[in-house]
């Protein structure tokens, strides 16, 4: 990552080859681009980063209910000793799907929702670097998610669901030990969501590096942008590692390879290493976006700038780096040898340092602030408080000798729910409340919001707090039941009740969405204005909901928190005074002449092709072949589709920004660079576009 406080300027000797105007292809029948921005079709074919962001959010919410329902089944089964709500077989499927769903289909896409929606806005861009690829990322993610979740139903209730746990250790994941299709769904489904994450990370990295508005140097970017950027780098480098692992697993299961076949001499620890080399950066992929969100919310509601901006950025980068050197702390008891254990134990501990810097800087931001405990602020402060608990238990795991007692007990389960639920999820929920008015033009009800926060928080602590005790009392993870005389009954019952309290809290959130929307509609859709919270980032400098073209004109940034500084100045006594209202500063979205990328049929078709290939790999290679045909067809459609559709309303063109296809059926190869690849310099304008077709 490049960290310089200046805009990178290409050196004089740069070899930038000319990237001239794209040749406007003549539309060939189906190859015209879809039109219109109304109705459900416009969502299917949209390439607008904001709509894609919203769809990511909605999909993640849906999967959250699925994963949450699974969690409730776990808790019901464990509520009492010798539980028999669901049997051992179903239980294994349920907790595996719970983990997989929550990690890959809830937290990651929810973070992607914010990344998609906010990154371009925060750097003042019109859209992401490759809008069509962005749409493809979403559909590809959805394909992988639906494939995974469908395993619950196919061939009977949880008969073919993955049942090896989310980290799916070999050789238990091998065909002899797990003969159902479950692990195939796991291997294929996660490869598909992996492609989605990888493509999207490339897209967003390029967006941040390349699409920043005038004056938006790296150290003028909001901390959320930074954290999302670091997250994308982590994804960029971590996804390939799990892809390798999944590949090997898939080869073993589908084509009889020997990678995890112990009888042939394989060492099953290979899987563990590969999984956790991915897996540990992954947990920071889960948390860093929430850290970014918290870093936006707390200053806003403290009425102060973020304390120690540079240190916040640096600590995020440090976490990103250090996250690569600690993976074997998940393997302290695997038998990797005392030296390796010692090294990883020590490296793990020191991750507490940059994380602590973050916690303390948030507290320092609040110090002497004027704290308004709005719903987003409640969530943000909830993160500070709850994440710390999970972080501290994390440090106790890092003490390797002690971890031999803790590992694979509920003490670990407590740890990671505190960091994931108490950190990532609370942060993301706070983000929902905070940016809801930006995305939809009205606020969610504060009363319901606060109530549901407290219900969730209390339920959360009652669910996961007791798990610390259970773990230290010796309750193992992933057991479908326990004996009555082991003494785990009390706290399990408390945890189960707590989980239902969380469910009530979640239901209150959903109700809030429904009720607030209704109320707003009934009231004749009043305008919240661009800046309902008196906030700081560029995203507030345009109308709410954000118009399709984001900003009416290019913003020139001169400092950190540009928008805030345009609203406030300092008088001779160094007191802050309001110099302008948000409405005066912000764009009103009236410029309808901004060129926008045209919608496209192909991203969703490509996603469908991948879905078919996925099912085909699991069930029938002919189906996979059909999927491949569809996939290749979609790629050619993508390449050949006209850059612009002159008939489309709103003078869409895509500025040839997203030409870069990815002619790679395996999903791992390189972009084919065909299509309207030559882009950035395309002097496309209406006149020229009008001559096309």
């Amino acid at each position: 990552m490049t960290v310089t406080d200046r805009t990178i300027t290409a050196p004089e000797e740069t070899l930038a080859l000319p990237a001239g105007p794209a040749v406007a292809h003549r539309p060939l029948g189906v190859f015209t681009r879809p039109q219109g921005s109304e109705g459900w079709r416009s969502w299917l074919f949209t390439v607008d980063h904001k709509r894609i962001g919203i769809m990511y959010g909605a999909a993640a919410m849906f999967f959250f209910l699925v994963g949450g329902a699974e969690a409730l089944f776990i808790r019901l089964q464990l509520a009492t000793p010798n539980g028999s709500v669901i049997g051992a077989g179903t239980y294994n499927g349920v907790f595996t799907m719970h983990g997989v769903t929550m990690v890959f289909l809830v937290i990651m896409p929810m973070a992607a929702a914010f990344a998609n929606y906010l990154l371009p806005l925060q750097v003042g861009a019109r859209d992401v670097a490759f809008p069509r690829l962005n749409a493809f990322s979403f559909w590809c993610f959805l394909a992988g998610g639906l494939l995974l979740v469908s395993s619950i139903f196919i061939g009977g209730w949880f008969q073919n669901a993955p049942d090896g746990g989310w980290f799916n250790y070999a050789p238990n994941s091998g065909l002899p030990f797990s003969p159902s299709k479950g692990i195939d769904f796991y291997a294929v489904g996660l490869q598909i969501t992996g492609i989605a994450s990888l493509v999207s990370s490339i897209n967003l990295i390029v967006t941040v590096l390349n699409m920043r508005t005038k004056g938006m140097s790296f150290f003028r970017m909001p901390v959320l942008t930074w954290m999302l950027l670091i997250t994308q780098f982590l994804l960029l480098f971590a996804i390939p590692v799990i892809t390798v692992a999944l590949f090997l697993l898939m080869f073993d299961r589908l084509w009889d390879a020997n990678f995890f076949n112990v009888a042939a001499g394989a060492d099953p620890l290979l899987w563990q290493h590969l999984f956790w080399i991915f897996g540990h950066p992954e947990v920071y992929i889960l948390i860093l976006p929430a850290f970014g969100i918290v870093s936006e919310i707390i200053p806003t509601f403290s009425r102060k700038p973020l304390f120690g901006y540079h240190f916040m950025v640096a600590s995020g980068i440090a976490i990103g780096f250090m996250g690569w050197g600690v993976w074997a702390h998940h393997m302290f008891t695997s038998g990797i040898g005392p030296l390796a254990v010692a090294a990883f134990s020590v490296s793990t501990m020191f991750i507490a340092v940059p994380t602590g810097v973050k916690i303390l800087n948030w507290l320092a931001t609040m110090y002497r602030g004027r704290l308004r405990f709005t719903t987003p602020m409640l969530y943000a402060v909830g993160v500070v408080s709850m994440f710390t608990i999970g972080g501290l238990s994390g440090v106790t795991h890092a003490i390797a000798p002690s971890d031999t007692q803790q590992t694979d007990t509920y003490y670990i389960v407590a740890h990671f729910h505190y960091v994931i639920f108490g950190g990532a999820l609370l942060g993301l929920f706070g983000g929902f409340y905070f940016w809801w008015p930006k995305a939809f033009g009205y606020k969610l009800s504060e009363a319901w919001g606060k109530a549901s926060f407290w219900v969730m928080l209390v339920g959360f602590n009652f669910t996961f707090g007791p798990m610390h005790i259970l773990g230290l009392q010796g309750m193992s993870r992933r057991i479908s039941t326990y004996r009555a005389d082991e003494g785990f009954a009390l706290w399990n019952m408390v945890a189960t009740i707590g989980s239902f309290v969380i469910a009530v809290g979640v239901a209150m959130f959903l109700w809030n969405v429904y009720a607030s929307t209704r109320k707003w509609q009934r009231a004749g859709r009043p305008d919240v204005g661009p800046d309902p919270w008196d906030a700081r980032g560029l995203e507030w400098m345009t109308a709410s909901p954000v118009p399709e073209h984001n900003f009416d004109s290019e913003i020139e940034v001169e400092r950190l928190d540009e928008f805030w500084h345009r609203k406030y100045g300092v008088d001779e006594n160094h007191r802050v005074v309001k110099t302008a209202t948000a409405e005066e500063v912000a764009h009103d979205g009236s410029n309808t002449k901004v060129h926008l990328p045209s919608p496209s049929y192909w991203p969703i078709v490509l996603g469908g092709g991948i879905l078919l290939v996925g099912y085909g790999l699991i069930y029938n290679l002919w189906l996979a072949a059909a999927g491949l045909v569809l996939l290749v067809g979609a790629i050619y459609g993508w390449i050949l589709e006209p850059a612009d559709d002159p008939d489309a309303a709103g003078h869409h063109d895509d500025h040839h920004d997203d030409g870069d296809g990815h002619g790679d059926p395996s999903g791992n190869g390189g972009p084919d660079g065909n299509g309207e690849s030559a882009s950035a310099a395309a002097p496309a304008d209406t006149e020229e576009a009008a001559t096309v077709g």
């Binding site: 000319p18 990237a19 001239g20 938006m216 960029l236 060492d267 004109s553 791992n668 660079g673």
Partner: protein, 200 residues
């Protein structure tokens, strides 16, 4: 980008002055390092985990043959840069010739690999035979798939050029595909050394 509607005719620029596509390709190649790194380490880790009487690297490798096909792939990188510099000079015909040559060299390499695979198979080394077999075919096959995709992309460029859609203004497209091609080549440099030449 948030250009004034009235000024959209001005040139589009990026913060770094680099085109999005080229940046994206380099970012992507950075990520590919971890992909191939994983496969190569898997190979290194597993190649020796076979029985004393099992078929192993020494039993199948035909170094002279593989050296030749490696050389072919290496030289395809040279022809690729020729293609790029031809189009940069505006020499469309030269560009086409070099693109075709590169694709042909690549295809020769892939053909060599197919031959090698069949030869190994007939000597008794299958994908499922032992860990060496699985790891070897997975790694080299994966690389071969990358080369194949590269060939398809080169041929697509060729067709585009024939149809007049690949003028000098799109030299960067050729360059970007060239980057991919060279990357696949350097991966083979590593594979050739580690897989074939390292003393077993």
């Amino acid at each position: 980008m948030a250009d004034e509607a009235t000024t959209h005719a001005e040139e589009h620029h990026t913060s770094t002055g680099i085109s999005n596509e080229k940046l994206a390709m380099w970012v992507f190649l950075g990520s590919e390092c971890l992909l191939f790194g994983g496969l190569i380490s898997t190979y290194m880790f597993n190649k020796g985990r076979i029985g004393p009487n099992d078929i192993g690297p020494d039993d199948v490798f035909d170094i002279p043959f593989t050296s030749v096909s490696s050389f072919v792939l290496l030289m395809s990188s040279l022809t690729m840069v020729f293609a790029v510099s031809a189009i940069a000079r505006g020499d469309l015909r030269g560009n086409r010739i070099w693109l075709a040559t590169t694709a042909a060299l690549g295809a020769t390499f892939v053909a060599g690999q197919v031959y090698e695979f069949t030869a190994f198979y007939s000597e008794g080394l299958g994908f499922t035979t032992n860990l060496f077999g699985s790891a070897f075919y997975a790694l080299t096959g994966f690389h071969g798939a990358h080369v194949t995709i590269g060939i398809i992309m080169l041929m697509s460029l060729y067709v585009m050029s024939m149809r007049g859609n690949l003028g000098p203004e799109r030299a960067e497209t050729v360059e970007i595909i060239g980057l991919y091609w060279h990357f696949v080549d350097i991966v083979w440099i590593v594979i050739f050394t580690i897989v074939y030449l390292f003393p077993q």
